[in-house]
Subunit: 350 residues, 2 copies
């Protein structure tokens, strides 16, 4: 930040898994905050949270409380965003929304700054932060699209429980302890807290993230498919996704198959393109067993890519392994990047 | 078994993870055993093992010990098979080998009974049991190939630690306990016991199973690619694999994308074909959150298939989720099925 100007910032969902990371990121990036407002549901209001040596009391999010707020970072679930984001905008705030509420709204930019930062300028008060599993994939695919063209993507995900919130992380923790003690596993949250049935995640894999749609895909899979096309500005690219929840706490991993348009692309060219891209770290050296893993990526803001191989049958086909901290680049870090871009480019006021 | 005849059976690697399941399966299937010989390395010789109310002392596997053996089930690693399987054959035994030692040997049938049982008859003393992750996939793909033709397979695997043996399962157990206690994780076995570096598997995902080949694929990935073509008798089918080790004990899961040859195939037709296939159970009802999981499949002999969906861009493309106990259908159960077929079809003697 070089403007010297400071901003009134609200964090909605401050007591949640992503909210905590939002605060961590605002601090780490030294975001120019004048006043900070920590908001939550009525239930969590009153919680005390420390930020930069000051203790804040979390307040209930209401329409009126957004009076005077410049930037509001929302991450308290889709229904809260649907209700309160327009109220915040009405009162002059620009909202960066980390829920699925507005992502596919044609009036709302859906942004990963490394991919389509310029879309932020077109905002009408709300900018949507994409789904965590989408963000890290499009960040890795952007240099591929730019240099070689992209016709097709088939992804299978390996997703951490923290994507489903603190309660899901606690569930994995408690179930793991019970399993190792030979006790029965109790399942109340995963695969989707609002769904009818719950299955144990400890020492298991659940091929369901979010609820099923009528077409047999889960909502998470449809998010990856639709959001990727919107962010990359390419409705013609074929995207298919299978999303799986796994027993680890942090970072999503993705096995991604891509087909490029250009003939004759080599693995070395692809590695170079990815290594040179913003926000990406190449970790790809099979001879020395170097590749990204969720445990290694946890707590880091970059997207890590490795295991880049050419398909053995299709010279335009390549396989990639993409890993990133789902709460950072997949959520908080990307949201704060958008807020920084709003400030840096003077895109706050319309 | 209806012949009434009984056979001298040797289990090589009786003290290992698969060896234990071999004995369980021989018992469950009431295999017609005359004498049972339990064999291992020198190190494990002397171990006592109970089988059908009798206690056996494990003996060291030597060339001479196979004298008089009719069927030898090998699962003690590739180097043991390479050395001793020919010795067993020389002495009149038929070997069912669960290692990678002879799988790609053109003289050795590679068999999943539901797919290519007839290949067993062509044996020259050795029949190879495919890799665990290959077995469950080809079992699911066989009805698809038969009815609709199969041009392409792209698989991403979710594999249990027990595929790397008892020591890997102990490592996951110990690391999980340490992680939950906030202690440092010690890694000595995974991703591949013979490789240079070891990484923690607890609450993590490792995109390496077995060692890397010169082309950047792991040996596990190349096994899936090459074995699938051999078992399905189709060198023209395109197969791509990404294999990932995950923190659960039992059952491999697979996210499989297939392209069929025939136009106009529906999800319902695919479901029906798979539901009617031998050894497969369809678990596919998204409305009621019914799909296979590793924890559910553990201890069962079938291959479970669910999440069958048509690709949204390619009408000939379909996505499947395939789960099976890697130690049963992926190893012991398939080996004993081959042994049963040898007996039932009178294919033991050449």
């Amino acid at each position: 930040m070089t403007t010297g100007e400071q901003f009134n910032v609200a964090v909605v969902g401050a007591t949640g898994a992503v909210g905590a990371k939002m605060l961590e990121t605002l601090d780490k990036k030294n975001f120019p905050i004048k006043d900070l407002l920590l908001l939550s549901s009525k239930r969590s209001a009153g919680t005390e949270i420390k930020f930069q040596n000051k203790t804040y009391t979390v307040q209930e999010a209401t329409p009126e409380i957004f009076e005077g707020v410049d930037i509001a970072l929302f991450s308290a679930g889709g229904s809260v965003s649907k209700k309160l984001a327009p109220e915040a905008v009405k009162r002059g705030a620009v909202v960066v929304d980390n829920t699925s509420a507005f992502r596919m709204d044609p009036e709302v930019p859906l942004v990963v700054p490394e991919v389509n930062e310029e879309d932020i300028e077109k905002h009408n008060g709300i900018i949507a932060n994409p789904n965590c599993s989408t963000i890290q994939m499009v960040a890795a695919l952007k240099p591929v699209q730019d240099l070689f063209g992209l016709s097709r993507v088939i992804v299978s995900t390996y997703q951490a429980v923290s994507g489903a919130g603190n309660e899901a992380a606690e569930e994995l923790h408690d179930q793991s302890k019970a399993f190792l003690a030979g006790e029965e596993l109790e399942a109340n949250i995963l695969p989707a807290s609002g769904d009818k049935k719950h299955y144990p995640i400890a020492f298991n894999a659940l091929p369901q993230i979010d609820v099923f749609q009528e077409n047999g895909y889960t909502f998470e899979e449809m998010k990856m498919i639709n959001e990727t096309k919107k962010i990359m500005h390419d409705d013609s690219v074929h995207v298919a996704a299978t999303c799986v929840r796994l027993p680890f706490f942090t970072s999503h991993a993705e096995s991604v198959y891509v087909e490029v348009d250009k003939e004759g692309v080599t693995v070395e060219q692809l590695k170079e393109a990815i290594a040179n891209a913003d926000g990406i770290t190449l970790q790809d050296d099979p001879t020395n067993q170097v590749y990204p893993t969720p445990l290694d990526a946890a707590g880091k803001s970059e997207v890590f890519v490795g295991r880049i191989r050419q398909d053995l049958d299709n010279t335009k086909g390549f396989h990639l392994w993409v890993v990133s901290d789902n709460l950072l680049k997949g959520a908080a870090w990307n949201s704060v990047q958008i807020a920084e871009s709003l400030v840096k480019n003077n895109w706050l006021k319309k």
